[in-house]
């Protein structure tokens, strides 16, 4: 895109700046639209599994429900509790929302179509996702209220626990791909199994890693069955209890943007990202970003499905799963994968 602006007669610096801004808008605006529609889809899927009808009044099939909700919260008054720590109370939802958008910078949407093609892309994603906890913790503390505070404490312990095993799972992928760059990781999956299946997931050593990544992803995004931070039966609404209007909506949007990001990471790291499932020339006629979005939607369906069917974990069970099951198993697989790759001379 930089070349296009240079062709329009701008100097390199201005062309680069403009093309970066355009890239950001090209990712952020469809993402926001996507989040609005995915909230609708989530409610519809949930309703269908509970044999209800879900949102069906606003617009055809209720398609405009999310926009109506958005308009509603936009018109509401922002209430700041008098006992709250005002600056941090306002900062927290902004932080959550910003962090949810940041990580999308390194997701490759097609061969060469990535906003920031950096060498340490996967580490960047890890770094950004580890920031997600701050929005929750700051909200819980600054609300100066008991339920949000419990929620903040749960969130800080929960997210750290699952990040450890996510780190080990990603190391297995990085070992196989030989790079932290997400673009290289996707390209390494081209014809990975029998030279025809695109994706690490078909690899017997990495398939268990994918299953664990999916579950850890749900825990990391605070999604059911791990939504203990906003368990309504125990903590009212968790860290969001004191929030209203737009600050509440920012949490809502940020949460779903994070869920979509986790789906995109599942697709990119294990299911071949923008590559079609099979390495057959005719499948490449469909552009890569359609494959990627298709995969993201598929994983989102899995997330919704789990939300609609699985009961919430108890807190000690959540910790047990993270530390006593996922951590040892993922550590074992780091040893297995690196040992196997050494044995076949992958690093030579």
């Amino acid at each position: 895109m930089t070349e296009f602006f240079q062709w329009l007669g701008l100097s390199y610096e201005w062309a680069w700046g403009l093309s970066t801004i355009c890239g950001i808008l090209l990712i952020a605006l469809p993402l926001m639209l996507g989040v609005a529609m995915i909230i609708y889809a989530d409610r519809k899927i949930w309703a269908a599994m509970a044999l209800r009808r879900g949102p069906n009044v606003v617009g055809p099939f209720g398609l405009l429900q999310s926009f109506a909700d958005g308009l509603k919260v936009f018109l509401q008054e922002t209430i700041i509790p008098s006992a709250a720590n005002k600056g941090l109370f306002i900062l927290a939802p902004i932080l959550t929302f910003t962090v949810a958008l940041l990580a999308w910078a390194v997701i490759p949407f097609n061969s060469g179509a990535v906003l920031a093609n950096i060498n340490v892309g996967l580490l960047y994603v890890l770094a950004i996702s580890s920031l997600g906890v701050y929005g929750v913790v700051i909200a819980g503390w600054s609300s100066n209220s008991k339920y949000p505070f419990f929620s903040a404490m749960r969130a800080s312990a929960q997210m750290i626990s699952y990040e450890v095993s996510i780190g080990f799972i990603l190391i297995c992928v990085v070992l196989w791909a030989g790079s932290f760059n997400l673009h290289t990781i996707v390209e390494a999956q081209r014809g990975h199994v029998f030279g025809i299946i695109n994706g690490f997931v078909a690899n017997p050593l990495l398939f268990p890693m994918w299953v664990m990544f999916l579950i850890s992803g749900m825990a990391e995004t605070g999604r059911a069955p791990f939504d203990l931070t906003e368990a309504e039966s125990e903590l009212v609404a968790g860290y969001q209890t004191e929030y209203s209007s737009m600050s509440f909506a920012l949490y809502w949007l940020g949460e779903y943007a994070n869920v979509l990001l986790m789906c995109a990471l599942n697709a990119t790291l294990f299911w071949g990202g923008y590559l079609p499932p099979l390495d057959i020339p005719v499948l490449y006629l469909i552009p890569g970003w359609i494959w990627l979005i298709g995969k993201i939607l598929f994983f989102f369906f899995i997330f919704s499905w789990v939300k609609a069917t699985v009961p919430r974990y108890r807190y000690d069970q959540l910790m047990r799963l993270g530390w006593k099951v996922f951590l040892p198993v993922s550590l074992l697989f780091v040893v297995l994968v690196s040992g196997y790759l050494m044995a076949i001379g992958h690093f030579a």
Binding site: L88, L126, L131, V133, Y134, A157, Q317
Partner: protein, 205 residues
């Protein structure tokens, strides 16, 4: 131009947030300013081309260490008057620390003005490789030349971790844990019996 601007922005913000970290009245605010200082340090690392170190700084310090800090500090019940009361008592120790830091700073500035440090081996022969990314460069050095030092560091950390667990662990006899594998292995036949008693007769359990 933009590099210089970014450098001064990161450096100024880092010094500012470092200063506010020690001056903020509220410990939670202190931790948050500390996190901002970490961020600006990571920005400076990116500017000098050490993106791997920058990312590790954020993942390790911001993502894990600072969360634990915050976790502890959030639950403190702070009495500000008591905090200020210790000022006179701790003043000599504080001055001593400040003097040590000042001496170190002056020593560092003196060493810096004496000439740039030769990177690589002690005699300056091994120059920094420029054609590979710094992730690979760090990996190649850590797992070849400094392998034993690196593994020794790992073992020390492991010992420290086990030590911390052993010191704080206490066996409690009065709590009952959940044995998940036992629960999963339990079948309906083990727990329930299906009997059809005749009319007028009870059931022997």
């Amino acid at each position: 131009m933009i590099q210089a601007f970014a450098f001064y922005l990161f450096a100024a913000l880092m010094i500012l947030s470092g200063a506010v970290t020690i001056m903020a009245r509220n410990p939670v605010h202190s931790v948050l300013w500390l996190i901002l200082a970490f961020f600006n340090a990571a920005g400076l690392m990116v500017l000098v081309g050490a993106e791997f170190i920058a990312m590790l700084l954020i993942i390790v310090y911001v993502g894990a260490v600072a969360v634990l800090f915050l976790f502890v500090v959030m639950m403190l019940d702070i009495d500000f008057s008591e905090l200020r009361g210790g000022f006179i008592k701790n003043f000599p120790l504080g001055m001593l620390l400040a003097l040590v830091l000042l001496a170190e700073l002056m020593f560092g500035v003196g060493a810096f003005t004496a000439g740039p440090l030769q990177l690589g081996v002690a005699d300056g022969a091994g120059a920094v490789p420029v054609d590979i990314s710094n992730t690979e460069a760090i990996g190649a050095l850590l797992y070849t030349r400094y392998l034993f030092v690196f593994e020794a560091a790992g073992i020390i950390l492991l010992v420290a971790m086990i030590g911390a667990i052993v010191l704080t662990h206490r066996e409690r006899k009065d709590t009952r844990g959940q044995n998940v594998s036992k629960q999963i292995a339990r079948r309906p036949e083990d727990a329930t019996v299906n009997v059809r008693p005749e009319v007028g007769k009870g059931v022997q359990l």
